[in-house]
Symmetry: C2
Subunit: 386 residues, 2 copies
């Protein structure tokens, strides 16, 4: 069978990793067909490293070169423009997260994919974690009863100033579109909404350039409220050493805690909504059955999602995350910025025009680009760190 | 040596426990001298149970009966009036938490104690936990470096509807003054400010009567911001089964986590504020030395604090918590109500007059008293549950 010809647009940190996987034939049914980077030094290096692969500096040329599909791994702000150009040329798209910088863009991307009948996937690699999918099944199946609270402390996204200095586009609203919520936490915000659904309101404290010389947020505290009354705290940062990744979900029949690569589960046969009103004991607690489940996700989640994208195109395998899925997590981060900028809770559905106006008004918050881009590959940085 | 003659005013859940401890001579240097409960059925029962102890139905009579000191364990709203009456009569006071319902009251109590030269202590029994005092030492000594974040999930205060029905004064602003923040969480709010100090602003989502048939809050999510930028999340509830008690404090040199009766500590020799700007690695992490410390608090913390109060009067032993200490935790809960009622973050110092006006406007939020008071003693309910 003929292999799917895949191009990679933006060969920085993530792009070079995907290119390498494709080039080394780690993805069944696909091959690395073309590369594009608008940095001529990077492009020149790519020509040396991949002598038998087409290399472009302009993504339109790559799209016109005969690719079946592309992986878009440029700075976030360029995702929508490139994806829509691809769809218009009959090319399928796997887009790095976040899908775009604001939800309006992602709606346009999805409309374009539908109009041109193209495949559109998002690199939400953490969805392949067995713990998250198990947590999702536990919640969806009603084992926890009625949801009451969730708390995700996800502060193990530590970055030094060197990280923000490594690419000149990092650390401003104009070029990166945001900080930890836009770059690191989209994975977690996606998992959060994938498991718990979407809230009705978002309140956020964001700290802009608190730990680093950047104009965007490097620390974020979100308080979400759901239609049924559930409270969700989502706490993240790129400035805390020895970070935590602990996700607790509580319902009327028990709770689960995901931490250290283990899902811990306490489930009771009795529902709190019953014994709250029937028990005579003033602080009655039923028996909870305890169990543990260890992580069994794929060794390389990015590779697994890329394989899924290829299988989707070739064999119609359901996508881990389709283009529409990019909207929800982006709604959460957009709403968080809106809340922090207006210092009040924001109701969903989000007023997307208002958000866009606010975003534009903050786009002039600039930082000085201190160094040029460094190229490096460290896949461990993108794994789930328990 | 003559024993200190102690009276107990309000012989409900806590009062009866203190009375029993005194009567059984578990407190060195003190004896149970008198009891007062304004419920005549309770008073009659006390006369039978404690035939050799004076029993009153009016606290003024008890104060005039020759007591050296009193323990005030009435519903919260009566604490200030009774304490001030005691000070005016030359009687020392140990007051149950919360010291009062609003901070203005507690300032008056402290002024009265000073004016009359009386001793004034607050029953913050959880301060005797070795884990909390160790955590405090770690923070105060600078071992954690500059503080960045704290998260306290303290949701193991579960109560059934029977609890709120057990005393007619529970569950309304008019009679109890608040819900979980006023009754259960004062311990934790006190420990929080004892270890971390006071924030500059408080934002709160409170849920009023979410899980129970009450007019006050049974679930609270607080987001505190400190002068140095530290974010603190404080999450509590009386409506979650299988509750959590997990307190994490993060600084620039490491973190501590208090959970399950153990303090876990990760400390590095390097300070994040240094390597953030000097490290070339984009997500550098230094080595963290890990250690664990187990709880070694007294078996009965209430008894320990009562003994401390007696030792303070007799031998000038420093108090675990003096009357002034009641103000800070109450400032936190008062600010949280203020925030929830006004739907905005509240700056400290608190506008106490504004809070008092808001509190009065919510005092008509009534619930129906469903049953009469049940008397029971279950000391385990007031212990720290890890």
């Amino acid at each position: 069978m003929k292999k799917l010809k895949i191009g990679v647009i933006g060969v920085g940190n993530m792009g070079s990793y995907h290119a390498k996987n494709l080039y080394e034939q780690k993805v069944d049914g696909a091959c690395l067909y073309a590369l594009c980077d608008n940095d001529e030094i990077v492009a020149e290096q790519l020509r040396q490293d991949y002598p038998d692969v087409k290399v472009y500096e302009n993504y339109v040329e790559l799209l016109d070169s005969g690719c079946d599909a592309v992986i878009i791994a440029t700075p976030h702000y360029f995702h929508p423009e490139i994806a829509i150009s691809a769809f218009e040329r009959g090319v399928d798209v796997m887009c790095e997260k976040p899908t775009g910088v604001y939800t309006k863009q992602v709606r346009l991307m999805n409309q374009s994919a539908e109009k041109h009948g193209r495949k559109f996937a998002v690199m939400f690699n953490q969805r392949t974690s067995s713990l998250f999918s198990t947590a999702r099944e536990i919640v969806k199946s009603g084992q926890l009863g009625e949801l009451k609270r969730a708390v995700w402390i996800i502060t193990n996204w530590y970055r030094t100033q060197s990280y923000y200095d490594s690419c000149s586009w990092r650390g401003t609203y104009q070029t990166e579109g945001g900080g930890v919520l836009m770059n690191q936490a989209p994975h977690n915000l996606d998992i959060l909404q994938w498991i718990l659904g979407m809230p009705k309101s978002v309140y956020a404290n964001l700290d802009f350039g608190r730990y680093h010389n950047i104009s965007v947020e490097d620390s974020a505290d979100l308080l979400l409220k759901y239609e049924n009354g559930m409270s969700v705290s989502f706490l993240t940062s790129t400035g805390e050493p020895c970070g935590t990744n602990r996700f607790e979900i509580v319902g009327s029949k028990g709770k689960i805690v995901l931490e250290g690569g283990v899902l811990k589960k306490w489930i009771s046969k009795e529902d709190e909504r019953d014994y709250c009103f029937s028990a005579k004991e003033l602080n009655y607690q039923p028996e909870f059955e305890y169990s543990e489940i260890a992580e069994e996700g794929p060794a390389d989640a990015h590779l697994a999602v890329l394989q899924n994208f290829v299988n989707h195109i070739l064999f119609d395998e359901p996508l881990v995350a389709c283009g529409h899925e990019g909207i929800n997590e982006l709604t959460l981060s957009n709403a968080a910025y809106c809340s922090a900028w207006t210092k009040s809770a924001v109701s969903l559905p989000l007023d997307e025009d208002k958000f866009y106006e606010l975003l534009k008004s903050h786009s002039n918050d600039k930082k000085e680009a201190k160094t040029s881009r460094k190229n490096y590959t460290n896949p461990a940085r993108w794994q789930i760190n328990w």
